[in-house]
Amino acid sequence: MAAELTIGTAGLLQDGVRLPAAAVQALVAGLAQRLEQGARQRVALISDRADAALVALLACQRAGCDLLLWRQATPPDSPVWRELGVSALLDGELGLVELPLPRRAEAAGLVLLATSGTTGTPKVAMHRLDRLLGRVRSPRDAAAAQHDRVLLTYHPCSFAGLQVLLTALVSGAELLAVSRSTVASLAAAALAHRPTLCSGTPTFWRGFMLALGPQAASVPLRHITLGGEAVDQVTLDRLRQCFPAAGIVHIYASTEAGALYAVRDGRAGFPRAWLDDGIDGVSLRIRDGALQVRSPRAMQAYVAGAGASPIDADGWLSTGDLVEAEGDRVLFRGRVDSVINVGGAKVRPEEIEAALLELPQVADVRAFAARNPITGELVGVELVLAEGLRLDDVRPIIVAHARQRLGGYKVPRVLRQVTALDASATGKKQRGG
């Protein structure tokens, strides 16, 4: 059924190597053939390569396989694959490893995405590709779009990254991707290959503008999208100055709710009128200070066993984002829960605390959001160290352990030594008893 969708094709420029659309199609045909040998199955792609994600997406649609996009290095013998019903693993070179697990009769070309910021086994949201495509617009001028080049700033196996891949597919634009990307390598790629479209978090855009400096003028962006975290007016205004020729849109989407709405007027937040009138088929309301949404583009469900659906019987989903109506605008004011938002990636403090408590040097720890003007928040920790230890002595041990156990944006960047945790200040340490 899903295989009948015509979703176009796209060429890529991955790490400076061009892969034309015809070459992508050949890889898709080859992989689809390998997948079709035998029953339909659920395949997990573990890679940060956009070319692999694009080919896997198209090949799984063609073969009627479910595709799980997975970001964490996970061995074939991990119990997680059985829990998620995955019967084959695919790597960045399109190598296929069959797992000794029963194949699924019901695979139906679904796309499965892990939600960020959870402990243990991530929750996995199931999507239908036709719904995911619901927010992806066909270009008004298809001929012009053929000359577009999209800079991918997200992990291709994230919800936001997938939206960018789909946009390239629908419009026929070329995808510009860098593996193991940093804001500096993305800036270098942008200067070398001159993208015309780019979507990123506000944190990405702030770093990108810092890295480009005056050279920003030579990047011919005509369309800029921001998402993943709330954007402030200052960042929107600076983008307008740096890229005066570009249309600037900020979007609101989540793994569970799908893509919800886009704001095009260059102002932070969204129009208050949308609370009454809805927008693009989405209803919005404020309950207990938090934004709730009801969307026709929400996920189908979590994969069985991964938790109750966050969507209530009437279709409302609580986003966990605090909002406030101010004048004609609704503005974002942080999170209901204690989640730390590191440049759009959500981190649960409990996960950080549990990992650091594994160290004998750490007697107690509280993770907190360290606010800053670049990434919005960072993971910070207050540490009570074992008797007689000083932070300067154990800092490398703590950081090395966190890098190994948590990795990337979850590694605490701000470390403070305290003699005792102040439970009364926030009550946060009451979490989890």
């Binding site: 940093t182 804001v183 500096a184 800036a187 270098a188 944190t203 990405f204 702030r206 770093g207 503008m209 810092l210 890295a211 480009l212 400096g213 402030d232 200052v234 960042t235 600076r238 590191v342 440049g343 360290a370 606010r371 800053n372 003007p373 670049i374 990434t375 960072l378 910070g380 800092r395 490398p396 950081v399 090395a400 890098r403 944006y409 960047r413 701000v414 403070r416």
Partner: protein, 81 residues
């Protein structure tokens, strides 16, 4: 603190971040670009430097919104005067 002192504090913080990753840092001086230049640091590292500066110097030059800076010297200047 003088601008030179803030610059050497920034250099120290950047070098500590790189050392924690097992990387060698070349010389970091007032002209060194923070992102997109020779230094192998990312937005998160730079954010950590800014948080540490605010804590150590007791001043938040970004309180009124983001300010453009590119080099160690330009960042240091925000904390002086």
């Amino acid at each position: 603190m003088s601008i030179e002192q803030v610059e050497s504090l920034i250099a120290e913080l950047v070098q500590r971040i790189l050392a924690e990753r097992g990387q060698q840092a070349g010389p970091v001086n007032s002209q060194t670009r923070l992102l997109g230049g020779e230094l192998d640091i990312d937005s998160l590292d730079l954010a950590a430097v800014v948080v540490e500066l605010e804590t150590r110097l007791g001043k938040d030059p970004f309180a009124g919104g983001f300010i453009e800076f590119r080099t160690v010297g330009e960042l240091a200047a925000l904390y002086v005067g």
